[in-house]
Amino acid sequence: MAVTAPQPGGIADHIHPEPQGFIRKYVFSIDHKIIGIQYIVTSFVFMILGGLLAELIRIQLMNANGGFMTPDTYNEVYTIHGSTMVWLVIVPMVTGGFGNFVFPLQIGARDVAFPWLNMVSFWMFPPAGLLLYASFLVGAPVAGWTEYPPVSLQGGPGTSMWCVAIFLVGVGTTLTGINFLVTALKMRAPGMTFTRMPLFVWAQFATAPLVMIATTALAAALAALFMERQFGVPFYDPTKGGSPLLWQHMFWFYSHPAVYIMILPVFGIISEIFPTFARKPIFGYKMIAFSSISIALLGFMVWAHHMFTSGLAPFLQLPFMIMTMVIAIPTGIKVFSWLATLWGGKIQYTTAMLFAIAFIATFTLGGISGVFLAAIPFDLWAHGTYFIVAHIHYVLVGGSLTGIFAGMFYWYPKMTGRFMNETLGRWTFWLFVIGLNGTFVPMHWLGLMGMPRRVAEYDPQFQTINQVESLFSFVMTLAILLFFVNALWSIRHGKRAGHNPWHARTLEWQIPSPPPYYNFKHIPTVLANPYAFDEPVPYAGLEDELTDSPAPIPAGAY
C-alpha cells in the first residue's frame, strides 16, 4: 500500500479518478489516449470520404471528354478532396492522432498539460468536417483547396461554409499546438533532458509552434475572406482597392508551414521505427532532432515560392528560391541519417518497417521534384500543370500517408493490445506502393508535356496515360480498403501482442497494452536517450508497471 499510494506532491502525482460510463470514457473523454484514437478514427472516416472523391476525379479523367460529371461538379469535387485530405485527414491524424496517443506516453507524463482543453480541441473537428461536406448541398467551393480570390469571392454560400469549417479545424489544431508545447516544455519525466527525448517527441515539439503560429495566420485570412463574402468588407477585391495577392501571401504563410506540420510528425514516426526494426541506435540523433527545428524555422521563410507566377518582384523571388533550396538540406540530413541507421542493422521486415522503407523512397522522390519546383525558371514552366499535382501527392501520399500507415502498424498493438494481421499487411503494402507509384509517376510526364491541372476535360493525346493512372488508383484504393478491413478485424481477432512486441525502447512500450488510464503507476526516471540497443533500457522506477500491484490512488482536490 505504502508503495503504490501517490506521494502527495506535484502535478505528476495528481491522478484523475478513473472515468466512469461510456460517455465519459469514450465520447467526451479527457484521456489523451482516447482522444488520440478519436482523432485517428475520425480522420480515417474523412479519408474514406476524401478518397471517394479522389476516385470520382479519376473516373472523370478516364475519358478526355469527361462526361462523368459536369465541369462545375468536378471543380467542387477536387476542391473538397484537397481540403479534406489536408485539414481533415493528415493534419489531425499526425498532430491530434499520433501526437495525442504517443507523445505524452513517451515523455512519461500522465496526460497533456490541459486535458479538458484537449477534449474541446477534438470536438471542434467532427462538426467542422460535417460542415465542409454539407457545403455540397448548397454548392461547394470551386476554387481548389487554395481558394484564390477573385474566384473564391464569387459563387454560392458553400465557400463561406468552407471558411467557417477550416477556421474551426484551425482553432482546434491551434489549441492542440499550445497544449503540446506546454506539455513538452513542462511535463517531461525527471531526467528526460532535451537530448534524451525520443525523436517522435522532438518532431512534435518542432511541430507545435508551427501549428500555433501558422494556423492563426490562416484564421485571419479566412476571417477576412468570410467578411468580404458575407458583408462586403473589401480585402481581396481589386475593383475596391483590395488585392488578390494579399490572400496568396496570407494563405501560403500558413500553408507552407502546413506541409511541415503534415510531414515533421511523420519524420518522427519513421525515426522511431527504423532503430527498432534495425536493432541499432539511430544514426545522428542530434542531427535529426536539430534538423526538425531548423525545418520548422525555415518553413516560415519560403512561402512565396508558391507565388513565382503571381507577379512577385524579382528581388523577392530570388531569396525565396534560395531559402527553399536550403530547406532541402535538413531534410537530406534526415534521409541520410535514416539510411545510415539501416546500414549494418539486423533488419526485421515487419509491415511497419516495409512502409517506413517505402517512405524514404517515395518521400525523397517528392522532395526532389520539390527542389525542381523551387528553381524559378522550372517553376514558370511547370506551374499549374500536373507536375505540381505529382509533387504534392508524392509528398502527402508517398510521404505523410505512407508514414501514417507505418505508424498504424507500429502502434496498433499499443492502442489495442493486439497485432494487425501481417499477411494482410503485406498485401496492403505491395498493393499500396504499386498503386501509389502507378498513379503518380505518370503525372510528372503529363505535367512536363503540358497537361494543366484542375481541368475536367483535356487534350485526347493524354488519355492513355490518364487511364493507366486511374487503373492504378483503383489498386491503391483496394490497398486502403484492405487496411481498414485489417484494422477492424484485428481489434477482436488479432494475435495478442503483449506489452512490448517489437522490443522497442521508448517509454510507451514499458507499460501494459493498452495503457491504463493513469499511464504509469510511478513516474519513471530517465537515465539516457532511448536508442542504445546494446544496453538495458535506461529507465528507473518502472518495476511495478507490469505487475498486478494496485493502481495508484486518485488524488482528491487539494
Binding site: 502535478i11 503560429i213 492563426t216 458583408f231 462586403g232 488585392s243 496570407m250
Partner: protein, 197 residues
C-alpha cells in the same frame, strides 16, 4: 503540514503550466493581430497611394485621450495585483474597479469615434473601401478584446470578493493582468499605424 507542502507544490506546478499556456495563447493571438496588420500595411503600400480617395479624417485628439485611458489602466491593474500580493484586499478592489472604469471609458471613446465616422461620413464604413476594411476590422477586433477583458476582470473581481483566490494562490488574477497588458500593447501598435504614420 505535509498536505500543505503538497498543496504548495501542486499550486506552483499548475501555475507554471497555466502561465506558460496563457503566454502561448497570447502569442497565437498576437499572430492574429499581426496578420491583419500585415494585410493593412500591404494594402496601404501596394494600392494607388494612401489614404485612398474617400478615406475619412480620424479624430486624433479623441484617440489620444482614449490611449491615455487605456495606458492608465495598464498602470492601475499593475497596482491592483501588487496590492493583492501585499494582502490589501480593499486597495486591490479599488484599483481593479479603476481599471474596469478606464476600460469602459476607452470603449465609449471608440464608440463615439465609430458613431461619428458612420453618421458624419457614410462613405467610411467598413464596406466602403480598404481603409474602412482594415480600420474597422483591426480596431473592432481590439475593441472586442477590451470588451472581453472588461467582463474577464469583472468576473475576477467578483470571484476575489467571494474568496476564490487567496493571497497565496491567485493564478487567475495573474492571467487576467497578463491579458490586460497584452490588450494594452496591441493598442500601442494600432494607435501608431492608424493615427501616427
Amino acid at each position: 503540514m505535509r498536505a500543505a507542502v503538497a498543496a504548495d507544490q501542486f499550486y506552483q506546478e499548475t501555475r507554471d503550466l497555466r502561465v506558460t499556456g496563457f503566454l502561448l495563447f497570447m502569442v497565437s493571438d498576437l499572430v492574429l493581430f499581426s496578420s491583419f496588420i500585415f494585410a493593412y500595411l500591404y494594402l496601404r503600400n501596394t494600392g494607388q497611394g494612401w489614404p485612398p480617395p474617400g478615406a475619412p479624417h480620424l479624430n486624433l485628439a479623441l484617440a489620444a485621450l482614449n490611449s491615455v485611458a487605456l495606458f492608465g489602466s495598464g498602470a492601475t491593474i499593475h497596482f491592483a495585483l501588487e496590492n493583492w500580493k501585499h494582502e490589501k484586499f480593499m486597495k486591490f478592489a479599488g484599483w481593479m474597479l479603476a481599471t474596469i472604469m478606464l476600460g469602459i471609458m476607452f470603449l465609449s471613446g471608440q464608440g463615439i469615434e465609430y458613431y461619428s465616422l458612420y453618421t458624419v461620413d457614410h462613405a467610411s464604413w467598413a464596406g466602403s473601401g480598404v481603409f474602412g476594411a482594415s480600420f474597422f476590422t483591426l480596431t473592432g477586433m481590439h475593441g472586442l478584446h477590451v470588451f472581453a477583458g472588461i467582463i474577464y476582470l469583472t468576473v475576477l473581481l467578483l470571484q476575489a470578493a467571494q474568496g476564490k483566490y487567496t493571497f497565496k494562490y491567485y493564478t487567475g488574477l495573474t492571467l487576467g493582468t497578463l491579458y490586460w497588458h497584452f490588450v494594452d500593447v496591441i493598442w500601442v501598435v494600432l494607435f501608431s499605424i492608424f493615427y501616427l504614420i
